[in-house]
């Protein structure tokens, strides 16, 4: 293949008639740049999603952020209340954490697996400064004193934790920070139960208060979190394009080259840790005040993995990606998978939509649908002939979906255990499906759809919550294998050494 034979063109739609004017207007694009642009173009999501992405990119960053913040602020007015509001609060806390983690992991490229300890530090710090834990009457500082104090403390803690990053790189840093995270949980669990409360945690924490007011409703915390998240994102956006932000990315791409460009590598790394810790501690203070209590288990690995799942899904390195990913993950995790009212339609709708968007040409789509339907009826008939009790249970869905599936999907009389195994098998098949190519993918698709329906009807429709943790693990694996830059991130090319 030779690129020289063809004159490198600009945009794909530029015809031969325009080529002359383009050349007259400016220098022609070089081969390298053309390749880079082509690669950049491929980064957009397929079809209309990509169009929307391109459209959004033409608008500046702050109108986009303002619109997103306004949309968030309007949500409670259109009837978000009670349980949904709590989901919103949790999602915003995780989003704030993901945005902070993005500084360390996305920009500075330091894999910090103890990040949740900073969240815990913030929550415990706020709890100690706003409850009866210390001294005879306790300390009850107003929020405008305690929150900055805790954030400064977290920054110092972040510097201390970051110290190993001066000597350790990559994997070693990951282990040490993971241990620090575990050590935090062990510490709060075991050391000085009179102050830290041991496994019983600290209860009776003050609300966020100051200047004669205090936040006592969930709606109040929701608005506070929306404001804090938008403000943090704005500050981080300015930081990203600043000298420090550029230094972080330089250190991520190549510490040696960065050092040669007189960037103080160690100091820059420590700064990333300190900034990340401050954001996490801020999230922690609001979390503690809203929950009125903190427990060591609130800051264990599952939360860390949740934050990572959000960051990876959205795209490490992009502020908007981190926030969006975390919000999506948390809304699915906490909201949809807990209240199964209409999730059946969502489930089947998603499958049909994915097939419609992804499967081309339509003959292949028709083949897959026909094969799935045929497989279902055949499997049902065969199993029924062997053992009547294996199909004795009806589908879990009610209404027209349930009756349509009655003779298609196999539901045993006692569906729990087969449903569980089916679910684990389904996740494994999904991971495999991402990997195989071409004809095999089409063939594998048929049993996967059928299995998905089986799992849904036997198990998930009644208890969707059981799948939550597994789904988070699956997101990490599938995203890393299929689209490591996440939904909104930009691809990083790293030359193998």
């Amino acid at each position: 293949m030779s690129l020289d034979a063809q004159p490198p063109a600009g945009p794909a739609e530029a015809g031969p008639a325009e080529a002359g004017t383009a050349a007259a207007a400016g220098p022609q694009v070089g081969a390298d740049e053309w390749v880079a642009r082509q690669a950049g173009r491929r980064e957009y999501l397929p079809s209309w999603l990509g169009e929307a992405q391109r459209g959004a990119e033409r608008i500046g960053w702050w109108p986009r952020l303002a619109v997103a913040g306004l949309a968030g602020a309007l949500l409670p007015l259109v009837g978000l209340g009670g349980f949904q509001l709590q989901v919103g609060i949790d999602a915003l806390v995780i989003a704030l954490l993901a945005v902070g983690l993005n500084i360390v992991v996305g920009w500075a490229g330091l894999l910090d697996l103890g990040y949740v300890a900073f969240f815990g530090f913030g929550a415990y710090g706020f709890a100690l400064l706003s409850s009866n834990q210390i001294g005879p009457n306790g300390i009850h500082l107003p929020a405008y004193a305690s929150v900055p104090a805790v954030m400064v403390g977290a920054a110092v803690f972040g510097l201390l934790v970051g110290l190993p990053s001066r000597r350790l790189i990559g994997d070693y840093l990951a282990i040490v920070t993971l241990f620090l995270g575990e050590a935090f949980v062990e510490f709060t669990n075991n050391v000085d139960p009179k102050t830290f409360g041991g496994p019983n945690g600290i209860v009776g924490i003050d609300a966020i208060r100051g200047f004669g007011h205090q936040l006592s409703t969930n709606t109040g915390y929701y608005y506070l979190l929306v404001i804090v998240l938008v403000a943090t994102m704005a500050v981080l956006r300015l930081l990203e394009t600043s000298r420090t932000g550029r230094a972080w990315r330089a250190v991520r791409e190549d510490p040696l080259a960065a050092a040669a460009m007189t960037i103080p590598v160690n100091r820059v790394k420590l700064m990333a840790f300190a900034f990340g810790a401050m954001v996490a501690a801020l999230a922690g203070t609001i979390f503690a005040a809203q929950q009125i209590s903190v427990f060591p288990t609130d800051f264990d690995t599952p939360i860390l993995i949740l934050v990572y799942a959000g960051l990876i899904l959205g795209g490490a390195g992009s502020i908007a990606g981190a926030a969006t990913g975390a919000l999506v993950v948390m809304v699915i995790y906490d909201g949809l998978l807990r209240s199964p009212a209409d999730s059946g339609i969502l489930f089947y709708g998603l499958i049909v939509l994915t097939l419609l968007v992804k499967l081309r040409p339509w003959r292949r789509l028709a083949g897959v649908v026909a094969a799935t339907v045929a497989l279902g009826f055949a499997a049902h008939a065969v199993v029924k002939a062997i053992s009547a009790s294996a199909v004795a249970g009806g589908p879990g869905s009610t209404g027209w979906i349930g009756s349509a599936l009655r003779d298609w999907v196999i539901v045993p009389a006692n569906p729990t255990v087969p449903g569980n195994w089916g679910f684990v098998l389904l996740i494994c098949l999904l991971i495999a499906l991402v990997q195989v190519q071409g004809r095999w993918r089409t063939i594998l698709l048929v049993p996967v759809i059928y299995l998905a329906s089986f799992v849904w009807e036997t198990r998930l429709v009644t208890q969707p919550a059981i799948t939550r943790q597994l789904m988070i693990g699956a997101i990490l694996i599938v995203m890393m294998n299929s689209r490591p830059q996440g939904l909104l991130g930009t691809r990083r090319v790293e030359t193998p050494t």
Binding site: V105, G109, L111, L113, P164, R167, L168, G170, D171, Y172, A174, I175, V176, L178, F179, L180, E182, A183, E186, F187, N190, L256, T301, P302, I305, Y308, A309, I312, A316, N420, W421, F423, V424, I427, I431, A432, Q435, I466, Q469, L470, I472, G473, A474, I475, L476, I477, M480, N481, P484, R492, E494, P496, T497
Partner: protein
């Protein structure tokens, strides 16, 4: 003094167990330069396989086959099944990421660890499963030297552990597969040019490493009696500590690290308090990493420019 020697024996036994997990972990790191966070969860799967084998043969009280045969079945089945699981994980989760940025396989490994842990929760429930080892291996049988007792279970674990370690040493240093493994670990591209089937070598490394974790899982079930979906995480952390303290990628280092961690833990529990055992083990790790990041027996890595 008797207490000291008793703790020494206990520490050596758990140390042998940690060493087996750490060996697999270190081997995988050697060929792929990947921290396999899912390694501890493979150990958990092995422990569950052992439990189901006991149940399959009539439960701890009414065994239908002799005890040595039962132990053999448990170890072989756990090794083969967990080894297969390790190969599958490598094929579908790590292989596509060979040339991805370093952070990608690490995050995938965390995802797999989380996935395995929660799959076990879903399939086997949250309650502890109990091996009830004393019902079929008497705790009083064994060797008594002075006032120190080494019961037959500890002997089994120690003998099997040492045999596996020596076998692995022979495999790595003497056989063709071992040479291929070392070649891939040293330089994957050069190994490929010399006609070594890199994919097969890595898959076999994963098989052996995971099988060792499976065997260690069964040992843990026999020794500690309790199995649940969360045991993998703690064991994984201990194995990291062992591998890192000994020098990651170095097999004698992993054994040394495992024994050190086992002894340290045993003496801390015996002489200080069980509350601080984990905290002190983690502290040990952080101290070693700061003073000597390449571990006790590891070689300092020179960075190529």
């Amino acid at each position: 003094m008797a207490f000291f020697f008793q703790e020494l024996v206990n520490g050596l036994t758990t140390g042998a167990l940690y060493a087996l997990v750490a060996l697999g972990f270190s081997m995988v790191y050697g060929v792929l330069k990947l921290l396999n966070f899912a390694h501890g969860d493979l150990y958990m799967v092995g422990a569950f396989i052992g439990y189901f084998v006991i149940q399959w043969f009539g439960g701890p009280k009414g065994l239908t086959i002799p005890v040595p045969l039962l132990l053999l079945t448990m170890f072989v089945l756990a090794a083969v099944l967990v080894g297969g699981l390790g190969v599958a994980i490598e094929r579908f989760a790590y292989r596509p990421l060979r040339n991805a940025p370093r952070i990608a396989p690490l995050i995938t490994a965390i995802g797999i660890s989380f996935f395995l842990e929660n799959a076990a929760l879903l399939l086997f429930g949250a309650q502890y499963r109990v091996y009830n080892t004393p019902d079929f291996i008497s705790a009083s049988s064994g060797i008594t030297i002075g006032s120190v007792t080494i019961d037959s279970l500890q002997i089994t674990v120690l003998v099997l552990g040492i045999a596996l370690m020596l076998g692995l040493r022979q495999l790595v240093s003497r056989t063709k597969l071992g040479r291929q493994m070392r070649a891939v670990a040293a330089d994957r591209e050069a190994a490929e040019m010399l006609g070594i089937n890199v994919n097969l070598t890595i898959a076999l490394t994963f098989f052996i490493g995971s099988a060792l974790a499976g065997v260690a899982g069964v040992m843990a079930g026999l020794l500690f009696n309790q199995v649940s979906n969360t045991i993998g995480f703690t064991a994984g952390l201990k194995a990291f500590t062992a591998a890192v303290v000994g020098g990651i990628g170095s097999l004698p280092g992993a054994v040394l690290g495992g024994l050190l961690i086992g002894l340290a833990e045993s003496f801390i529990i015996g002489y200080v308090s069980s509350l601080y055992a984990n905290l002190l083990v983690f502290g040990l790790l952080i101290a070693v990493m700061l003073v000597r990041p390449s571990g006790l027996l590891g070689q300092a890595q020179l960075q190529k420019v």
